[in-house]
Amino acid sequence: MDIQFAWLCLIFPFIGVLVTPFLARVGYTVMGYGAVLFSFLAAGATLLLLPLLFAPERLPLEVAYVWLETPIRVSFGVLLDPLSVIVANVVAVISFFIMVYCLGYMEPKPSTMRFWMFMNAFIGSMLLLVLANNLVFTFVGWKLVGVCSWGLIGFHHHDEEKYWIGGPPPYKMDTPSACGLKALVVTGAGDMLMLGGILIMFYYSGTFDIMTLYRTASEWIPRMAAVPGMILLVSVLLIAGPVGKSAQFPLHEWLPEAMAGPSPVSALIHAATMVKSGVFLVARLIPIFYYGYWVAGVPEAMHFFIIVAWIGAITAFLAASQGLVALELKKALAFSTVSQIGFMMLALGVSGFNQGLLVNGYTAGLFHLVSHAMFKACLFLCAGTVIHTAHSIYLHEMGSLRKYMPTTWIFMAVAALSLMGVPPLPGFWSKDAVLLTCLESRHFILFAVAMAAVVCTSFYSVRFMGMIFHGRASGHVKSLEKHHAHLGEGYPSQTFACGALALGTAVFGIVGLTAEHKLHDLFTGNLTGTLSLPIAEKAAAFPHLLVPLLSVFCVLAGAVPAYRFYVSRTWDVEAVVSRSGALQRIHRFLWERWYIDRFYNWFFVGGALRLAGFVAGVFEAALDALVHLRMTALIGRGGNALIEFVRADAPDLSNNIAYVLAVAAFLIAAALWWV
């Protein structure tokens, strides 16, 4: 029966896609409720899988049907194991709340049909990615999620100025359609490389089925390791996919621009679904490379973990530092998302560093995935309400909104505190688990980088809360007040969705430690029992309170100055920055996003267009002229001479035919001579 629920999870959202156009004929309100109903059904079916986590001996469950027999065998099925059940629940349940929020947020009009269809397709594709029993269908979900994100980010495809992001002027602004294309291409770069990795792995293993890959690792990993560099190559290719989809360095630059979509889309992409798919896939691949290094004794397999951990750490700090100066609310949250996913990657990466860390790192990464999904969805949905109320995407055009939006303030504060890692909210527990695993790995540089990211996280969280809700009202808000604009909470459905997620965050914080232990037990059983991976019991090398204390210290190190700058306003941030040339340079560096986006635009976008211009304008033009002008002129002259010799009249067609006949005669003669 559980398997049937898994199928239903997949089917409901796609049915929602198909029936939406018909519901639109009944009415736009009916269409909205209908679309939400199917996401509700998917969430319901997914929740019915949860009891499996309390009976882990029944896992994994798998059912598959042959999709393609020849020339390669591919099955289509679902796989229920602790990883897929947990991530599917995160996806389906949080997506449902986002859909409820959309009922109020999205104006009922014809174009919303496309919105609802893409939203349900997005949810269905993500569930396919998570529940698929093999890498082909995981990749199908992966690609469909990419297409849906393109459609949703570029939802306002008329590119009206009010939907542009970036700036504020004179800085560059981006249109929604350009942002959608950027997301599609940047994530696509990772997708394609990952396809290469999967296919190389397929050659050695002969299967795409995830459980078969695990089970037969002892046979195919040594074969792959026999080719020097092959495992390293496959590691890099496979990691490229998650790096792109989860917006990790160096493919992280698409995500800030993805904010051009409606706010619920940002929540869906950044909290619940797409950016989590990379973390999910890395978790899926860990048993393979762990086996390769710790059982098969292939040193190259360690590269997988090293690369993942370093990418995670670098991204966690890099994005958090960019969040310090962001002026667009949703962009600040986007940087935050990139950074937090870096923490997840870091935990998963260090899980392979020694046998004592496998379960701890694996658990920490996924625990942070769950908690982050909840509080970040809440933050994005609240941000949508705030932007709607403030009529601006910029933080410096907000301020003092708490009196108008007290409920939203509470919800957002709960989520922001969790993001900072304030106890006892879930962000504290999950970040603590990540940091502890990192410290236990004794890679102190990684640990230091992660701690620096915690400081930045704390700073930017207090900063955006202060700039939105506290301090003096900006000139823009005053102008709204003057014109009696609606300054208040969102629609009831919006408030309900935000409240549910904030409440969930608070409750999850209370049971956080218990949940972490439960997840730990679950993954211990899965990794060591089902997958027979060896682990070592290790006593803690550091005092248990060290990491929580350090973590709280880092939170305070970021929060206190941010509080004085942006909440109490006892320090004047502009005065401080204007006094220091170094701070101005740092600000500029961070504002320019470490100059990475600018470099990518110059090198990849500009480079590709320049190369295309050269190919078409110079090379192709020269080749075309050579073949179609010079050669024909030469042949024409020769033909003319020949025709002049044999006959008097020489129209153009005759030249050509004479030439063709001459060539044909020559070739036939040559061929016969060879014979």
Binding site: V74, L199, E620
Partner: protein, 504 residues
């Protein structure tokens, strides 16, 4: 159950329909399009029935007709491979014949404005009696059992293209028609030379007998000469220079078939060279893979630079055909089957892409995509068609090109396990798919997104008549069906390709 002479009917019913249109052109007038469509529906049904028979294990269908005693015969043979190629090519002809019913009417109005209704009807019937030589040629190439038969049908395509281009093409139609003819003849000369070489060695043009050449030093030269001719047809770099001109200046309903015309050379390589001469072909594998990679990257950059909507589609063909070539060059059963499947998927995607480009030009009278923009709001169905075409070319699920790409590259990487060149080409090849995503979606963005182009006549911009869009929607459905159930195609290809290579 099957009527006799089924292959003969499949090949020559379009020619008979053509003759009928020609003879009754005056009474038929603009109903000629429906006669062509009826003929093609009939042949499609025959192909489906034959396909089902083969799919259920009938193996293959052979027919031989004595033309001139004692041994000049017309041999036709349908197996899984030729049937798959023939069926998809015929479906595309059917789709484009239906699409053209309104499109070509409009085209004639533009080119031959003021000639009067009678002359217009005359051009209309002329289009259709010429058009029907395409299905005849494609079916003939697909089912011919000997090289001379193939040569004949290939040449019939070249000549048909010449006339259609000269009558119904765009601005420089007569000059480009001549260019197209010359390149066709260039290709044909090599084809004929290689065929004669085979005949000199074996005393036969029969493809089935070509395996007797295996191991013979002359096999190298036979393959090399064939390949030069076929590379020109496939527009492999540096023989691609004709493609942007010819594709761009053809009426768009023909441009879709031009992709088939070019790509069918990949089928000929598999049928006439790889299957009978697999071992002798090995030496050509690495250079073909490298050329394919160069062509796909070069073609992509060429496409990226285009601003003419028709040249975007034209240049992308250069890049896309190279994927089939890559599969063929890797020379594993999986890669060849994947290459053939990709060929079928590509021609469907390209038909959608070209035809939609045609619709845009038909409605807006503009070819420069920089002057377009915002059309999605006014032409939602066309936008949906164009994006589907972009997804088909870029290998997105659920379209058949997704499955084809997986199979093709699985084969390439299979070779890559023992061949570092193939591994490198494979990785660069999958990475190059990103260029396809880039140029198709960038063009789509410029055409359909943003504010409505300043020079566009808002009042007249709307989706085209249903007779133009419905055939394309059905074709998209077919691609989705093949993507969801790729076994339908792979079960046809496998016995022929894997079966033959296992014997070798």
């Amino acid at each position: 159950m099957m009527s006799s002479h089924v292959l003969l009917q499949i090949v020559f019913v379009p020619a008979l329909a053509s003759l009928g249109i020609y003879l009754f052109r005056e009474p038929l007038g603009k109903r000629a399009g429906w006669v062509a469509v009826a003929g093609l529906i009939y042949t499609t049904v025959l192909l489906v029935l034959t396909g089902l028979r083969i799919w259920h294990g009938a193996g293959s269908v052979h027919e031989t007709y004595l033309l001139i005693a004692p041994d000049i015969t017309l041999g036709l043979m349908a197996d899984g491979l030729s049937l798959a190629v023939g069926l998809i090519a015929n479906v595309l002809c059917l789709v484009l014949a239906t699409f053209s019913i309104r499109y070509i009417d409009h085209r004639i109005e533009i080119i031959y404005e003021g000639v009067g209704a009678r002359r217009e009807a005359s051009y209309y019937t002329r289009f259709y009696y010429l058009f029907l030589f395409f299905p005849m040629g494609f079916m003939g190439v697909s089912f011919a059992t000997n090289l001379i038969g193939m040569y004949f049908f290939l040449e019939s395509l070249t000549i048909t293209l010449y006339f259609l281009m000269a009558y119904f093409g765009y601005i420089e139609r007569v000059r480009i028609a001549m260019m197209c003819l010359l390149w066709g003849i260039f290709s044909a000369v090599f084809f004929l030379a290689a065929s004669l070489l085979v005949y000199a060695q074996l005393g036969s043009f029969e493809i089935a007998r070509m395996s007797a050449l295996a191991g013979n030093p002359m096999a190298f030269w036979v393959i090399a000469i064939f390949l030069i001719g076929l590379f020109a047809k496939l527009a492999v770099f540096p023989f691609h220079v004709w493609m942007p001109w010819v594709h761009a200046e053809h009426p768009t309903c023909i441009a879709g078939l031009l992709a088939v015309y070019a790509n069918i050379a990949a089928y000929i390589i598999v049928r006439a060279l790889i299957l009978p001469l697999f071992h002798d072909f090995q030496v050509f594998g690495p250079p073909i893979m490298v050329l394919a990679l160069i062509t796909m990257v070069y073609g992509s950059f060429l496409t990226l630079a285009q601003t003419d909507i028709k040249r975007v589609a034209a240049c992308s063909t250069i890049s896309q055909i190279a994927y089939s070539m890559l599969g063929i060059g890797a020379l594993t059963a999986v890669s060849i089957e994947g290459g053939m499947f990709f060929f079928l998927s590509h021609i469907m995607g390209k038909t959608i892409f070209f035809s939609t480009a045609g619709i845009v030009v038909y409605i807006t009278h503009i070819r420069n995509i920089e002057n377009m923009g915002g059309l999605a709001a006014k032409m939602p169905i066309t936008a949906m068609l164009f994006f589907s075409g972009a997804m088909m070319l870029s290998g997105f699920p659920p379209f058949s090109s997704f499955a084809a790409e997986w199979i093709l590259f699985a084969g390439v990487f299979e070779r890559g396990a023992t061949d570092s060149l193939a591994l490198t080409v494979g990785i660069l090849g999958v990475a190059a798919i990103l260029l396809t995503v880039g140029y198709t979606f960038l063009a789509a963005k410029k055409i359909f997104f943003g504010p409505l182009g300043a020079g566009l006549d808002k009042a007249h911009i709307k989706d085209p008549p249903l007779s133009m869009s419905i055939p394309l929607i059905l074709l998209i459905c077919l691609s989705v069906a093949m993507g969801l159930y790729p076994r339908a195609v792979m079960d046809l290809l496998r016995p022929v390709i894997s079966g033959a290579l296992m014997v070798v």
